[in-house]
């Protein structure tokens, strides 16, 4: 269980995240919604400790994440996988090595530096890639792939971390509609089949409504809505998004197919 207690982050005098308190039970798929600049990214990055809160605590089980240092911090990051809007792959490395970065915590640094991955580790990476229909591209440089393919590599990297929780920061904001569906389906699948908690920042309300168990709405760094998607009426949405409302509500809702009936997508072990 992930618990945020009065988490605040200030940049200069401005509060990007302001007194956020949340409890996320294990296995939930939470969508964090709100307009650009509402503090969604800052919040997610603090959970992975890419940024440190100015005030407040973040707890996972009984562990205070905000106090972790050194190896304990790296262990937390390994348990808490992160997926980024811009994929954040090493473009000049091949796909397999990018995925291996998700195992690097469990490998001695000297062995990792020489790329001496064991056969088991390679098998794990290839299986994760295959579940996303990407194994045949394992030898390609990551920067030769399309955006949708790169994000699938990033998801494979997150999967081999065998995480307890996945944080996805606008994972589909740079993708076309078809890849948007592939990526969101993958996250849903991971959540439903392996019970991994997913916290996902989304700009599009319709996607958030159709995929998430719960929506957290943020505005100006504060949580202003926290309920099941059905409770998010158009009036609330307009409140949340202001002038951008037309743009985010107007998008055509994607067709949500039942889990398991999706072509070209079967996660290993499911």
């Amino acid at each position: 269980m992930l618990r945020l207690e009065g988490v605040t982050k200030s940049f200069g005098g401005k509060r990007a995240v302001d007194q956020v308190s949340l409890v996320v039970p294990t296995g939930q798929l939470v969508g964090v919604i709100g307009r650009s600049g509402a503090g969604k990214s800052t919040l997610l990055r603090m959970i992975n400790r890419l940024g440190d809160p100015t005030q407040g605590r973040i707890l996972f089980g009984d562990t205070d994440i905000t106090q972790l240092k050194g190896r304990a911090l790296r262990q937390w990051r390994a348990r808490c996988a992160m997926i980024f809007q811009q994929f954040n792959l090493a473009g000049r490395l091949d796909v397999l090595n990018n995925v291996m970065m998700g195992r690097a915590f469990h490998v001695p640094t000297s062995r990792a530096l020489l790329k001496l991955w064991s056969d088991d580790e390679k098998a794990q990476a290839l299986s994760a890639l295959e579940s996303l229909d990407m194994a045949r591209l394992a030898g390609q440089r990551a920067d030769t792939l399309s955006g949708g393919q790169q994000q699938r590599v990033a998801i494979a990297r997150a999967l081999v971390q065998e995480p307890d929780i996945i944080l996805a920061d606008e994972p589909i904001a740079s993708l076309d509609p078809r890849n948007t569906k592939v990526v969101m389906d993958a996250l849903l699948h991971i959540n439903k089949h392996f019970g991994i908690t997913v916290v996902c920042n989304l700009h599009s309300l319709d996607l958030a409504r159709s995929y998430c168990d719960r929506l957290v709405g943020m505005a100006a760094g504060r949580v202003v809505f926290d309920d099941v998607p059905a409770a998010l009426t158009d009036a609330v949405a307009r409140d949340l998004y202001g002038l951008e409302a037309g743009e985010v509500v107007g998008e055509a809702p994607p067709v949500l197919m039942p889990v398991g009936a999706r072509p070209g997508f079967a996660l290993a072990g499911s």
């Binding site: 992975n48 890419l50 790296r74 262990q75 937390w76 990051r77 390994a78 348990r79 996988a81 992160m82 980024f84 811009q86 994929f87 954040n88 792959l89 090493a90 473009g91 000049r92 490395l93 090595n97 970065m101 998700g102 690097a104 915590f105 640094t109 990792a112 530096l113 920067d143 990033a154 990297r157 997150a158 971390q161």
Partner: protein
């Protein structure tokens, strides 16, 4: 055909012309003032540094005569009339030139290794700690501020005459110069891959190796080659203080007035340096080309 420009009547034109002249005049004064300042500063600094113009003028006739003397054999004939006599010491000089190149090479490689490690500690975007970064930056400054010849002199006293002193001097200077340049390369990388790797729990060395290094590699090689060019030139004079290489014979020839030897050794050094320059810049341009293609 009537002109599309209707000339202004003189009464109207006069004030416009005057205003233009006034603005040009002030700019002209500005330029003259700057030139005067530069001239005054030059005169003042030559006086305080005892650079005497009359002394220069009195002795200037000796300069061409020295140069001409360099290109005369002992019997007074021009050097090109007997090339075998001019380059009588060729085997020895070639060996010393080879030693110079090897010194430059070893010094550059050692320096590059040092700079490579230090650059990641000194780059503002990835440095693991602020005080370490500060220390490394100051260390690099010291390494590159002290002239190589001074280091060489110190090492000659410590380790004795010979190439070891020269190699160490070149290596230390290279650490300082390349450490700064490499750190700037690292500061210009895209941080997203590094962040992606850090976010998965990898250690700092792993994040540097896979997130940062692939982006910096071609620039590192290019700067290292450029440094090798520079180091070939500076090892050529290491022998002046007894730190090995061709410089030893050059300074001896200058001091003992072996005129034709001085010119022969200078010609050899110039040829070597231009060959190295051409080769490395060719490789560097190919590297830059490769970089742009990706």
């Amino acid at each position: 055909m009537s002109s599309p420009i209707a000339l202004l009547p003189d009464a109207q034109l006069r004030p416009l012309l005057d205003a233009y002249e006034a603005s040009v005049r002030s700019r002209r004064w500005h330029t003259l003032l700057i030139l005067a300042c530069v001239a005054v500063a030059m005169v003042l600094s030559s006086i305080s540094a005892e650079v005497s113009i009359p002394k220069l003028l009195d002795n200037i006739h000796r300069f061409p005569s020295y140069i001409i003397r360099l290109f005369q054999l002992e019997n007074g004939r021009p050097v090109w009339t007997d090339v075998a006599e001019w380059f009588w010491g060729l085997p020895r000089w070639l060996r010393l030139l080879g030693e110079t190149l090897l010194m430059a090479y070893v010094g550059t490689v050692l320096g590059v290794i040092g700079a490579f490690v230090l650059s990641f500690l000194a780059a503002a975007n990835v440095a693991p700690s602020r005080w370490l970064r500060w220390t490394v930056r100051r260390f690099c400054e010291i390494c590159r501020t002290v002239p190589e010849l001074v280091f060489a002199l110190v090492f000659v006293i410590a380790f004795g005459l010979g190439p070891v002193a020269g190699v160490l001097a070149v290596a230390i200077h290279t650490v300082g110069a390349l450490g700064k340049l490499f750190a700037e390369v690292v500061e210009n990388i895209d941080m997203k891959p590094v962040e992606g790797i850090i976010a998965g729990g990898s250690s700092w060395p792993v994040a540097m190796r896979f997130g940062a290094l692939p982006q910096t590699m071609s620039n590192f090689v290019s700067y290292a080659l450029l440094r090798f060019e520079i180091n070939v030139r500076s090892t050529a004079v290491m022998g002046f203080v007894g730190a090995g290489g061709i410089g030893q014979d050059l300074i001896e020839a200058i001091r003992k007035f072996y005129y034709s030897d001085v010119s022969a050794i200078l010609v050899l050094i110039i040829i070597t340096v231009s060959v190295i320059d051409t080769l490395t810049s060719h490789v560097r341009h190919r590297l830059i080309g490769l970089q742009e293609k990706h």
